[in-house]
């Protein structure tokens, strides 16, 4: 049993958005409706004259205390034994309670128009067969093949680091416990498993 998590190094992200593209092709997310499982936020930091741009890649935080899961009436949202928060497409009724509950804007509706468009583009390889609420899966299908999530393998600057937070030998464990990296909006008590090294 692992406890998967990610570290994002904001010092090295250049905002190339390769992760967004990799995720889109890997997971057939509806880019045509401008919906993504991972985004790169372009922020301004500091006050004039000391202002600089920082890039903040974001995705589902796979929260340990999971507000989206508590809000989901159908059990469509569930957590694997490795702590990955997933949606069972067939069980999701699309009530949006999870979208309201998620503090990190990690979910979006895969609507019936999106399902149709996906079928046009991917034919019999389409993976989203019914409308549902969609989110990042940490590329669980790749992890089970011992490959890293698509965004992580693609990132040219090693900004995204993935691994088992419980494994003392892993890079994510070392960084997450070093105090160098912190989760976002900790005050909400969600205990995210994505940590950020500030720029």
């Amino acid at each position: 049993m692992a406890r998967y998590g990610m570290v994002i190094d904001m010092r090295t992200c250049v905002g190339c958005q390769a992760c967004m593209v990799a995720c889109t092709t890997e997971n057939q997310t509806p880019f045509w409706s401008d919906k993504f499982r991972t985004h790169v936020e372009d922020k301004e930091q500091g006050n004039y004259p000391d202002v600089h741009r920082v890039m903040l890649p974001r995705l589902c935080m796979h929260c340990e205390n999971t507000p989206c899961l508590s809000a989901c009436p159908t059990g469509a949202t569930y957590k694997t034994k490795d702590g990955i928060v997933l949606v069972n497409y067939d069980r999701c009724i699309g009530c949006y309670a999870c979208c309201i509950a998620c503090p990190y804007d990690a979910r979006y509706p895969y609507e019936s128009d999106d399902v149709n468009r996906e079928r046009e583009l991917y034919g019999s390889n389409a993976t989203h067969e019914v409308p549902h609420v969609d989110k990042c899966t940490f590329c669980q299908h790749r992890i089970s093949l011992h490959t890293e999530p698509a965004c992580v393998s693609t990132c040219p600057t090693h900004t995204r680091i993935f691994g088992d937070l419980d494994d003392p030998a892993s890079e994510v464990h070392k960084i997450a416990t070093s105090g160098k990296a912190a989760a976002l909006n900790q005050g909400l008590g969600t205990s995210p498993k994505v940590f950020y090294i500030p720029s």
């Binding site: 809000a71 989901c72 159908t74 999701c92 009530c95 309670a97 309201i100 804007d105």
Partner: protein, 304 residues
Amino acid sequence: MTFVHQHVWGWQIATYLFLGGLGGATFAISAILHLFEGCDRKMLSVAVLSSIGFLVLGTVFLLADMLQPLKAAYALTNPNSWIFWGVIFINFYFLAAIVYVIPLLEEWPKLLPIIQKIPAPLLSLLERFNRLAALGGSAAGFLIAIYTGLLISAAPAISFWNTPALPLLFVISGFSTGAAYLLLLSTFSKKETAWKISEKLEQLDAVLIVSELIILGAYFNFALFLPTGARESAQYLFNSPVFIIGFFIAGLLIPLAIETYGIFFSGHSKKSNSLLAFASALVLIGGYLLRFFVLSAGLYQYPW
């Protein structure tokens, strides 16, 4: 830190929340009045039937907003979710309200042939459980009204909603719309009993509006003094003329003034009948606007 308007729940869900509170409260008030005051059974049957209608319609709006309404029965899976409880309360309510209303329908000569088709033992059973159904249905109605607030308060990043003041506000406002609806009904009835009841309803609605004003004061006070999204939301509402004029002035203050006038100065005279109907309609419109605007003022506070 950025504040972003939520856009997943719009006017359809506002309608669901409004009809849920209205339907639940209409039943609870009419059944309680019936138990303790006795009243015009014909009017009561109309009130209960319409409360069922409100909840059916509300449920239709909820279902229409879903991606997969045909699978809605799955919602009975996770008891940690408010929607789970909403489904339980609403179904329990339907059961109690139907048991309660069937014997009342005997008041309508046109419906009598249908009622007579119901086997006599069943009918007498329904009558025997009438008081229990009235109490159970009222409790469920109250729970539905409070659930409409609990549902949206489970949003950790929307600080304007994530407060116990919101369910309280929705339940009081729900009961105020319920009282206003019953008041409106009673203004159509020519019977003396209905007129007596309407006096009670007028007083009840005025008390509820005053309580709503107090809760609103506390709610906005809390929102405006925290440096969070709640303050942004409160400011957004202050800057929405339809919220201020439509809800606050026309939906609360004007009906309160009319009802106060009716209670203290005109001695609840029949001349004020149309004025009372007007006040009730305003309360109902205000109740809808409150939910619509609270939903549209929902701002996520994102850490980027």
